[in-house]
Symmetry: C3
Subunit: 273 residues, 3 copies
Amino acid sequence: VVHRVILSRAPHARIVDLTHGIPPQDVRAGALALWRAVPYLAPCVVMAVVDPGVGTGRRAVAIETDTDSPPLLLLGPDNGLLVPAANAAGGIARVVELEHPDCRPRSDSPPAIGATFAGRDVFAPAAGQLCNGVDIESLGSIVDPAGLEGGPIELVSPGGPSVVAEVLWVDRFGNAQLNVEHFQAPGPGGEKDYLVVEVPGADPIGARRVTAYAELGEGELGLVLDSSGLLSLCVFRGRAADLLGIRPGDRVALRATSTAPVPFGHGPGQAHP
Amino acid sequence: VVHRVILSRAPHARIVDLTHGIPPQDVRAGALALWRAVPYLAPCVVMAVVDPGVGTGRRAVAIETDTDSPPLLLLGPDNGLLVPAANAAGGIARVVELEHPDCRPRSDSPPAIGATFAGRDVFAPAAGQLCNGVDIESLGSIVDPAGLEGGPIELVSPGGPSVVAEVLWVDRFGNAQLNVEHFQAPGPGGEKDYLVVEVPGADPIGARRVTAYAELGEGELGLVLDSSGLLSLCVFRGRAADLLGIRPGDRVALRATSTAPVPFGHGPGQAHP
Amino acid sequence: VVHRVILSRAPHARIVDLTHGIPPQDVRAGALALWRAVPYLAPCVVMAVVDPGVGTGRRAVAIETDTDSPPLLLLGPDNGLLVPAANAAGGIARVVELEHPDCRPRSDSPPAIGATFAGRDVFAPAAGQLCNGVDIESLGSIVDPAGLEGGPIELVSPGGPSVVAEVLWVDRFGNAQLNVEHFQAPGPGGEKDYLVVEVPGADPIGARRVTAYAELGEGELGLVLDSSGLLSLCVFRGRAADLLGIRPGDRVALRATSTAPVPFGHGPGQAHP
């Protein structure tokens, strides 16, 4: 229905669904999914709805990113969903709070038949307007970007041989994306590609830094640079997150070692830190 | 493949997937999903396939809704899937039974390589034809609308302090949509927003009438007017249908009370009717 | 994101998602899904990614099918994913190994921010190029079709009263598609529509050859010619694959019998071969 409302305003719009896989009301997961996609989106209008605070005082906003980059306009609730993506897309130039009547369905649209469904009744009509080239100020009044909820995603780039990382995402293959941009552990003797992975409450596990999933042996835990430019824990033909018992938001410690790891399913002594 | 067949006939068509989430062969769930969407669809051609009777004598039909409303054309099996939506869209003007050869793939299409898949081989080509502006009578012979399977969705609008409702739908958040348009329980002393919810075989549970999910406390059962204009049972950050043990088609009794409810997970005496 | 990259190269492209339901890294399931769809796709560009060998030496290829048929161009990894579909679409005319710089994002695209995601960084830009009408040789060098991984799907067409079949696919209704094109078991006395189905490790089960699911009684096992032109095991309002305990790749023996079957759930003696 949201697609239909957008097309009723902007029949020429090309609509791409980025994801329908965000867990209910998980604003952080939605913000991260949008942040991963944003380098590939501009120029476009992004509409995002993960909105547990709908019906309360939370604001609905439109964000225009910095005009030195290709233009990107983001619509959604002011709950931290949009700001990481806006920052990654060049920074925030202007913000409006959606309030004007023309954010609502056209006069020839059916009257809303129930409570406001923000995606259908506010953001989709506004997205259609923006696809037609209207300025964001026609949708509401300018507000201070500093007042927006949320901030950039915190990434770490360790200089030393260890780091405490956070799991950002578990993809459909069970790979666990970490908030770590690189990790060149200066281990002794050229064995810098061996690591120990420590999950609270579990035995340390050995892993190996590789450049492709398929370099790993069956059941071997690996650390690869993924297509978002972040390190990801993976097991070839296995689900790393399930085997490690980790979920988004969990902490994981990585440290360099000179000892080769033992694959999953090869008995005790899996890791020899 | 159905999209591709439509586009091979009507390259200009804009195709929107309303849902792929209907449980296998659940005609009623499909009819309700279409009925909820229909206020936002016209003008358009709707193709719907939930078709457990395919291959038997069930008819394939095209329905044109009343021309005083924006035009809506519905294609699908005559098994009750289309009629609730057609009624909600202004009523039925004309019906044809699909029978003419030009409902089938074009002569330059590959011959059907197996049994007829009605979506791919009958409804998609017919939808492409209708998108090109042909009259529904070019697809078959006019039949009597009174002979169609199905009828309008039965909604209740209680005038008194109690109602027996039916669960129409459980959404992905676990909210349970009821077939109740409003419920202004005339409780004593201004405490009209408290209700008791009775599910057969379980203890009565207290609930509160609110205008947004987020007004509820953690674990509190609420009744909100949803975006379809129907009352919905919900639990903030919880799955109401799971907590109540209800599914589509189940009966639920609501009655007014003057006693405030106790949230889920707060011990015995959850409801004090 | 892949859609967005294609549209950034070929804004006019109409993109249809054939499926997002392939189990992780299941090349065979992907090849079969594409093979089932291919009679309905041409003319078009097909991009397919089920790619467990990404990052290793596996090649990325573009295949042009034989020009006597409507043109079909297939892009994907050279791991057996594309060849069954290419054969079904008229055979392979030319193959190139993707290697040229213009397979990569445009110069005004963001630099890849991490490891290569072949779908996003190689196949999607190449698909956009092909949608714009470039010849496949602009994407790389011609290679020998005989060197491609994979071959046609092996189907059987038994002439006699029995066959050993392979389960190709279990659909969302639980129907099990077999690699059998037809089965006209010449049973005695005109009772040729009765069969015995044998799954290794389980008792034989009786089944009936029917032309539509709905001809079956509740719980009765049937064999129908499906919309791909292959025989499929089904249970009306039940999940045949679950009831038989079979999965894709399993072997199933079918043989003719003169004895009528007994439906599931009707006690011992279910089959009387």
